[in-house]
Point group: C2
């Protein structure tokens, strides 16, 4: 990552106490950035003070809400790069309360952009999209031009955020980049329930020597990639000219089946057991089928590709939670 | 329209005092429907009591806001068909205040659907999308599968509403239909400014014997169609099984240039004058280029096609405003 210029760069991470935000904050500090984070610590949204405990004295931390335009104007005014990560990230919860999801994820992302328009048009803003924007893939691997038929409200609001970033780039000249992530996993994601981040949940079950239940035969393909690689993609998106105004699909680029993933976790962790159960009806309706990311665009434009293989990622994840279990269970 | 079964059907029109809503209410009454309208009469959003003056005693009218979930639950509970038209419809205003636009158009449309999920899953809900969802067309005519690159916040929120309706159909079983309209014109649209509904604005300028200014050479193609045809599309979408879960592009299907449209208006109205001015920079950046609707999908599925030619539409529009000018100027 020698080409990533972050020395003394002023960075704001919204949702900075969450999974991606806190891992990104760490990497940015290592690169010499001045890092501020803002997080509303809304229950069940993934924010966790422990995620930044060991770096807390090197960060500016603000407890506040991205929907607060006055606060956001104040926070973005002296920043160079903004990672707009605050959101409701649970797709099952998004279906239970779509109006809250809109407010948190839609209005939140828009308010960050609007603050930049008013106070800092020169900022770069990086936003995470999701592979769920595509719905059921019509072809694999999935490239950036694949049609988008989101199947849940979470995914609709990822798409909404993406379109906002494109409009603010094209109409207002703000430098934006959207990374449509497949399924990142690793340290610092919530571990309390299985509604999202299922890979991490499997690691928990294995650590507790419990049964890992896989729906059906587990042959559905997933594109899991390790958080360190996701962080690398965000770092590039926030610092490289070639990212301006772009949307990239980001993931492993190579599939693993659910069943293989579960077996590897049991194998690496050394405990737990894989069992298969029939698809629950509500999950089945939400299931998108197999997914593989076409990573050629981001590889070409930003020189990014994943470096951590699945097994090593699982090993580091298990190691992290084995050590810090009490802060996540 | 003999195949449109609306006798005693209970219909709710949100934004019912606006352009499309009030014309639709009239047609529904003619078909024997029991029509309720709700409108918040928010300034500049197009609601106008005069639009329903002659039918007011045949309607139930509620002054209220679609963002009010409790109210919407109450209103949808005993309805069969809902036309979800309430919105901020001015794309220029959407760029001035994107957060308000989200609230009005995004949260508003979502709240109507959420009310149906909670109180009336058997309802049909019809929603107007926009040709602006497509941004600059990559090919003409534009069919339903054309990629969507909205260039302004108004268009982003039309896309958002469309995706909501698809998710509520697929996940919650609500019967929804989205009609992506090109450029409807005609009686009962606002006439106070030119920020949207430019065709109507041209009619006003002609009626006042003023200059109609066309940007550049006026060679950009537009797909103007008369409100009566738009209403017919809504009536079909709200009553035909073949509309369930569908999205249709709706428009004239035949282009007219801006310059031709302006000349026809001057000719039909018998006053006014066409002049050309260079493109203003902000308008130029928002300009999508030519647009022609591919109407083959809706023609095949719902048997819809436009019946009123451009000149007759202009004549009826001019006649309406000549008579009722004081209620719109």
């Amino acid at each position: 990552m020698n080409d990533l210029q972050y020395k003394d760069v002023r960075v704001l991470i919204t949702g900075g106490l969450g999974f991606i935000g806190s891992n990104l904050a760490r990497a940015l500090l290592d690169l010499g950035a001045k890092v501020s984070i803002v997080d509303a610590l809304i229950p069940n949204l993934g924010g966790n003070w422990f995620n930044v405990e060991s770096i807390r004295d090197k960060l500016e931390t603000v407890v506040g809400d991205v929907r607060d335009l006055a606060l956001m104007q104040d926070l973005v005014a002296n920043k160079d790069v903004i990672f707009s990560l605050a959101a409701q990230v649970d797709h099952i919860a998004s279906m239970a309360d779509p109006i809250f999801d809109l407010d948190m994820s839609g209005k939140g992302a828009l308010t960050v952009l609007e603050a930049c328009r008013r106070k800092k048009r020169g900022a770069r803003v990086v936003f995470p999209g999701s592979r769920l924007q595509f719905g059921r893939p019509r072809r694999l691997p999935v490239d950036e031009d694949h049609p988008m038929d989101p199947m849940n409200i979470y995914a609709v609001h990822r798409l909404l955020g993406e379109k906002y970033h494109q409009v603010y780039h094209n109409a207002f000249g703000i430098s934006t980049c959207v990374l449509r992530l497949s399924n990142p996993f690793g340290p610092r994601q919530q571990m309390r329930h299985s509604q999202y981040g299922i890979l991490n949940w499997f690691v928990r079950l294995a650590l507790e020597n419990r049964e890992i239940t896989v729906y059906g035969d587990g042959s559905q393909q997933r594109d899991y990639f390790y958080i360190q690689d996701a962080v690398d993609a965000f770092l590039r998106a926030g610092s490289m000219e070639a990212a301006d105004g772009q949307v990239f699909n980001v993931g492993a680029g190579a599939p693993i089946t659910m069943a293989e993933a579960a077996r590897t976790i049991v194998d690496v962790v050394g405990s737990g057991k894989v069992t298969h159960i029939p698809w629950p009806e509500d999950r089945s309706r939400q299931e998108t089928g197999g997914y593989i990311t076409d990573i050629s665009k981001i590889e070409k434009a930003l020189g990014w590709r994943p470096k951590v293989n699945f097994k090593d990622g699982v090993r580091q994840t298990a190691e992290y939670y084995r050590t810090h279990r009490e802060h996540y269970w």
